[in-house]
């Protein structure tokens, strides 16, 4: 294989910053370096104006009012603020929170933290296709339930949850609905008011903006939602999040939102075609399985299990040329495979054998063609090396073998 540019198919981890975004940010590092909270001079006014403009760009992307956008350092902070903030603010109403097992750690660990502080948390299981069971959600809500937190789209599988239906259930019971929409915003239409979401977390760097800046949408009317600040200080962001605003980051986030609003449809159409091409070619290999609901899925994501091939080893066959990520957490000390895939009922062996491909705005067809060839070769190479592939080919029932778990 000839030496070539590293192909990036890991856009769910982070996206490159669009050059148009970078260009918009640059003046705000030196020339326009002001603090948006400085009310007494030109530098401050200029920065404040830039932040206001970005807030509008972001609000427009999600069909919100700009007063409903609270800037944070990213989606993790937004999730923390939403869940902890509601738990504190609505403590008199109850202490029960409902979420799902396949949420991001920023939601799960926040909930675990709150359990220590007296919260009761229900972690819904998901169905085999990765979606929550609506009847189970409905049944889990009780008088003390204050919040349902369900992500819009899953980071590992791209599976999109039935957002409207979840919102209707929350509406019926008068429960607040928060969504970690990190993977969805900027890539598919995400209008919280239209859907019935009251709090929504998202971030710049998953939508071709910079890292270190995100936002929490907080509904201001019908209902007017309040969250208790988790960061004390100067009372920025209408008292919900203190701290000097990251002006260049926010400007970039705003620009990214504007580009996403204008180009989302064409990006999604183009990228989903490339994703389908990749997926169709790779699933022609024997014993492969696409994980998650393919009818309700992000346009740029494909999570595939290659049976009897270990994901990290497979990645190593091509990671000089292609960047992807694996459902096998063999790099972590825990040796635990992806809890998202296991939560969907995949066996640990298949979870270890999975690769997540996430395409993006800058992925080209030529790159996809190259990836198809390299991954196919990698799978074949690893299967030649795999004792369990050999056994499978010889007709050995692998479930009958007494493995020495270690």
């Amino acid at each position: 294989m000839e030496k070539r540019r590293l192909i990036y198919l890991d856009n769910n981890a982070t996206t490159p910053c669009d050059p148009r975004v970078v260009e918009a940010m640059i003046p705000f590092f030196f020339e326009k370096h002001g603090n948006a909270a400085s009310r007494s001079h030109q530098f401050g006014w200029e920065a404040e104006e830039a932040v206001d403009y970005a807030r509008e760009q972001i609000a427009q992307l999600i069909g919100a009012d700009e007063k409903e956008i609270i800037f944070t350092s990213g989606a993790t902070e937004a999730n923390n603020l939403a869940i902890k903030g509601v738990f504190e603010m609505y403590a008199r109403k109850g202490n029960h929170i409902i979420t799902a097992e396949t949420e991001h750690k920023a939601v799960l660990d926040t909930c675990k933290h709150l359990e220590k502080l007296g919260a009761e948390v229900t972690y819904l299981k998901v169905k085999e296709d990765g979606q929550v069971d609506l009847a189970e959600l409905d049944a889990a809500i009780k008088p003390g339930t204050i919040l349902v937190s369900i992500m819009w789209a899953n980071n590992e599988t791209g599976v999109i949850q039935p957002m409207r239906e979840i919102a209707q259930i929350c509406e019926k019971h008068g429960v607040l609905f928060h969504s970690d929409a990190t993977q969805a915003v900027g890539k598919i239409p995400t209008n919280p008011r239209e859907v019935g979401i009251h709090l929504m977390s998202f971030t710049g760097h998953k939508m071709y903006g910079p890292k270190g800046v995100g936002a929490l949408y907080v509904s201001r009317k019908n209902p007017r939602v309040k969250v208790t600040a988790q960061m004390d200080g100067g009372g920025h962001e209408r008292g919900m999040r203190s701290g000097t605003l990251n002006v260049p980051g926010i400007v970039g986030f705003g620009k990214a939102a504007e580009i996403a609003r204008l180009e989302m449809a064409q990006d999604a159409e183009r990228v989903s075609k490339l994703r389908d091409k990749l997926e169709n070619a790779l699933t022609k290999l024997e014993e492969t399985k696409v994980n998650g609901n393919i009818q309700s899925r992000m346009p740029h994501v494909s999570n595939i299990s290659f049976k009897h091939v270990e994901g990290e080893g497979l990645m190593m066959t091509f990671n000089q040329n292609i960047a992807v990520s694996s459902g096998s957490a063999c790099t972590s000390a825990s040796l635990e495979p992806s809890y998202v895939l296991v939560g969907m009922g995949l066996g640990d062996d298949l979870a270890h054998s999975s690769i997540r491909f996430s395409l993006g705005r800058f992925t080209t067809e030529e790159e996809v063609d190259y990836a198809i060839e390299a991954v196919t070769n990698g799978v074949n190479h690893m299967r030649d090396l795999s004792p369990i592939w050999e056994m499978y080919k010889d007709g050995v029932d692998l479930t009958k073998i007494e493995w020495s778990a270690h």
Partner: protein, 140 residues
């Protein structure tokens, strides 16, 4: 995480991949690990009757790069050794040779287990009382 050049070399050009006749009296087979854990190693040795030395060694591994490199290296080390010397191969020798990071030490442990399992299988087949050796000596 970056891999060492030695891991990359064994991964790209694995030595002694394959299978020996597991029914042969001279062949010992060790199968360790589990698919659920993301690592399975099958390591085989073939012992020469006349010399008592390991004449051939083969492996196949389902696992990450470090697991494949550990088993590939093990087969290289096994060839030409007596069974007694093979028993002395310690996982830390593999760690050192391949410069495995702490999170990958389990791969070397698995390779040592595979060696021991292959030897045990060979010894049982041939009615040899298994020798146990304390892992104090170093090899290579």
């Amino acid at each position: 995480m970056a891999y060492s050049n030695k891991v990359l070399d064994h991964f790209k050009n694995p030595r002694n991949v394959g299978v020996l006749d597991k029914n042969s009296k001279n062949v010992g087979t060790g199968l360790v690990g589990a698919p659920e854990c993301g690592d399975v190693m099958r390591l085989q040795i073939e012992v020469d009757d006349a010399t008592g030395l390991i004449r051939d060694a083969k492996f196949k591994t389902f696992g990450c790069g470090s697991a494949i490199a550990s088993s590939s290296l093990a087969t290289e080390w096994l060839k030409g050794k007596s069974v007694e010397d093979a028993m002395r191969i310690d996982n830390m020798d593999i760690v050192e040779e391949l410069a495995l990071p702490p999170v990958k030490i389990h791969c070397s442990v698995l390779a040592e287990d595979a060696i021991k399992a292959a030897i045990k299988d060979y010894q049982e087949k041939n009615g040899i009382v298994p020798t146990t050796v304390e892992n104090t000596a170093t090899t290579a």
